[in-house]
Symmetry: C2
Subunit: 490 residues, 2 copies
């Protein structure tokens, strides 16, 4: 199965594209820029969804659903928002097809909409138009709502999971009585995302604030989590926006506070998308295929029988099913692959390609000796173990794999993060080594843009965790108080 | 809260519309025909989704995701399919907006799509175009895939949940090597829907086959579950379609069977939607508001304190929280409403409106006596009980309510189902009494259409469960072998 998978060192980009398709995660559809998420890929996304959904609910949020279509006029109400999204909007103009008389199905020009509808690229406008009717007084606040939905942004260059015209995501939209409460919410949600990325995806992330250039269209602050991929490029994995009173003003959403005073409502929005699948794949996988963190793997353990003839298969199957049952009783998801159409070697390669964390093989000698062979996907190490209490061992092993791939990714990031103090050094690292680069910057949009134009590197964020430090902008020499995190990015 | 809710006997339709909005289930949006599903309503839908999703997985299905947009040419490939949906399609024609120079945001005419994209009203065409690449041999079959998605059908007259331009649903799309396997799947899924309707929603349904007139556009057989609402109108709550080889032929999907022979693949599709919310509401609710089956109620038990002054509230809260904890430990979802902004009477009415199955009230005398008051939403009966082991009593009570509302709905259906043998009787029942009418019919499209034109009643299905019986068509007098189930329908 893994035959034909390009090596990362040869062509990282091609390796990724092939892996997504060969591991049955997703494929391009007949609709430009839209993907089909296949059952195996979708089952990983479902695990992500379930985990995040619980985290959102544990922090007080409820789900709701708002319309797919947004009237064009709503879009125009927040100026920077429409600037940010107008160039990539799918527009519905008609509501009927007809037969033209020659058996061609054509758009019925009589069924033209008075006002065009935009397929949502994000839902701030339709939601704040709705909130207007939900909010009169401070008693109606906060509103803590999330929606799981599909959105459309007409991207010109698309890549499976990373950048698609249609993608799946969740978007939280909250409304608050005070600025501080909205800021706290913005921070809480970026922390939720970081925890999910690190503890479930095993992907270390850097939390920070976006520069003005990279902020969400309509936000006063955008917080992001940034992850480093194996090719030294950064990937923005989630964002949380403090929207101030911008959307409340655009849609005239006011509330009466405890003192009876009218004020505009404060807002946040935050989202992660199927892009997380791209981060997951690129952070851990190798030349044999996917490496999945056990907490998100649809199949955590696969059992493969090694046999000759029907009789051996029957005997091994009995034992394998006992082990499967024991593992399932501990809450582990197990597949016993007794297909007789494929050889063990083929199956081994297939589950390596699909990133199943633990593989158990049982042969006739194992039956005699009460043993089995356990292989772990992350290190590819194999060992022979007793069948007794294998379930306890597997639990420990799954935890160990989860931790190990996180550490591996963290070590990689450490090795590929550096501080530079001159623009020459900066360009050298960005061009030749890649990775995260911490450098002083004078804080202006102009300088950031020039650096981007000259090196393709952008400011991923101003990390929350870094301390104040006097320095000089690598580009202009002007004074700077803290380093920004630069990288080339997806 | 319930003040102002129109009585069912006065205006059933208005009662429904008001109830949906007042109970915080959904509301009309600014986008014609599209609704906003509010958090309380969405939490019921989430419970439906979770239950159905488990039932689908238990019967071997996996989830996947296919594009929102369908190229117009795909649509035209299955003739009856496009006939069925062309008149209600939202069409995307452009992919960019621009500023016209006078600060108006307009559609950029330069960004016109070469081929228009249809917002999916259902996904058979895009999915069968995808399956073409997934299927070569019998080894690739069956494909058992479901997707949870939004779809758009441009309905002219819309009603919250029952008929909206955009709605949420699931659509299963399966591919099989044999006709029999596809027929078995079609039947299995209508059985899954019936089980869900009866055991979770507590709504009795009649399973049967649709007449040719009412079949899905592109299907050879459509099986449906039909429920009876309190106003005597039927509601189609779910459908499962045997598509034969129609879509395989339209998209040229062939497979090699075990004998090496090429044949077209057999297909089914099946779906339920947010329309189920409408069925749930209309089947059980009363003039005070919603009546929810405990298995789908987001809040199963609400505890309301009856107190004067802060001190009493503190004492009662302590007891209430103990009881809440005990109930939660048994897996019951509980809300303790200690808001001091509203009186108990207001809260009672609010939870009646929202259909919370069980209400517990605790006052100062209850504290002294170790008692509490339990009220059940379905019968509105109240009783005083000891606080000890209240959790066991509540479990029994929730089961009892679940069963009772099912029996009530079944009794209603029994009282409102009749057999008639003449067209005069038929018209009399349909016009004056409503409900299900079992009548002989000659099996022709023409007769069905005439009866529909004259009485507005349609054939809901040919029930699976009824026995062969010689009779004469009520309209033409021609011979008939079994009765069809007629009703006016939503």
């Amino acid at each position: 199965m893994a035959k034909g998978l390009t090596k990362r060192s040869e062509n990282y980009s091609q390796w990724y594209n092939e892996l997504v398709v060969k591991a049955d995660l997703a494929e391009n559809s007949a609709v430009r820029g839209s993907m089909v998420i296949k059952p195996y890929g979708f089952s990983i996304w479902e695990k992500m969804q379930a985990t995040l959904d619980k985290m959102f609910k544990d922090t007080g949020h409820s789900n709701a659903y708002f319309p797919l279509f947004i009237p064009k006029s709503f879009f125009s109400k927040e100026a920077s928002h429409v600037d940010g999204f107008a160039k990539e909007c799918a527009v519905v103009t008609h509501y009927r097809l007809k037969n033209d008389g020659n058996n061609n199905i054509v758009v019925d020009e009589k069924a033209k909409l008075e006002e065009e509808l935009i397929v949502r690229p994000t839902s701030e406008t339709i939601i704040w138009n709705t909130y207007k009717n939900w909010i009169q007084s401070y008693r109606d606040l906060p509103i803590l709502v999330n929606q799981w939905a599909n959105v459309v942004r007409w991207e010109m260059r698309t890549r499976l999971f990373l950048r698609t015209a249609e993608f799946l995501w969740q978007e939280g939209h909250t409304a608050h009585a005070t600025k501080q409460e909205a800021l706290d919410e913005t921070e809480q949600m970026i922390n939720v995302y970081a925890e999910f990325a690190e503890k479930w995806m095993a992907v270390p992330v850097i939390k920070g604030a976006k520069s003005e250039n990279e902020r969400f269209a309509g936000a006063l602050e955008t917080y992001a989590i940034e992850a480093l991929m194996q090719d030294g490029k950064a990937l923005q994995a989630g964002t949380s926006h403090f929207l101030g009173q911008n959307f409340a003003k655009a849609f005239d959403v006011k509330f009466t506070d405890k003192e009876g005073k009218l004020d505009y409502v404060w807002a946040t929005s935050w989202g992660v998308s199927t892009r997380l699948m791209g981060a997951l794949i690129m952070a851990h996988s190798d030349d044999l295929g996917l490496v999945l963190p056990p907490k998100l793997a649809p199949i955590q353990v696969v059992i493969v029988p090694i046999y000759k003839g029907e009789e051996q298969l029957v005997q091994i199957s009995e034992k394998a099913n006992q082990i499967k049952k024991k593992l399932q009783d501990k809450g582990i998801s197990v597949k016993f692959d007794d297909r007789d159409t494929h050889k063990p070697g083929f199956k081994f390669a297939e589950y390596e390609l699909k990133g199943v964390p633990v593989r158990i093989a049982i042969g006739p000698r194992d039956l005699e000796n009460g043993t089995l062979e356990i292989a772990r996907r992350d290190t590819l190490e194999k060992e022979s173990r007793a069948q007794d209490s294998v379930e306890d061992y597997v639990i420990t092993l799954l935890d160990d794999i989860q931790e190990n791939i996180y550490i591996k990714a963290s070590d990689f990031r450490k090795e590929n993060t550096c501080k530079v103090d001159t623009y020459a050094q900066f360009k050298d690292v960005i061009e030749n080594k890649g990775g995260f680069v911490l450098a002083h910057w004078d804080g202006t949009v102009e300088t950031e843009q020039k650096i981007k134009d000259e090196t393709k590197a952008t400011i991923r964020c101003i990390p929350f965790s870094f301390e104040e430090e006097e320095g000089k902008c690598i580009y202009t020499g002007k004074p700077s108080k803290r380093r920004a995190l630069f990288a080339k990015a997806y």
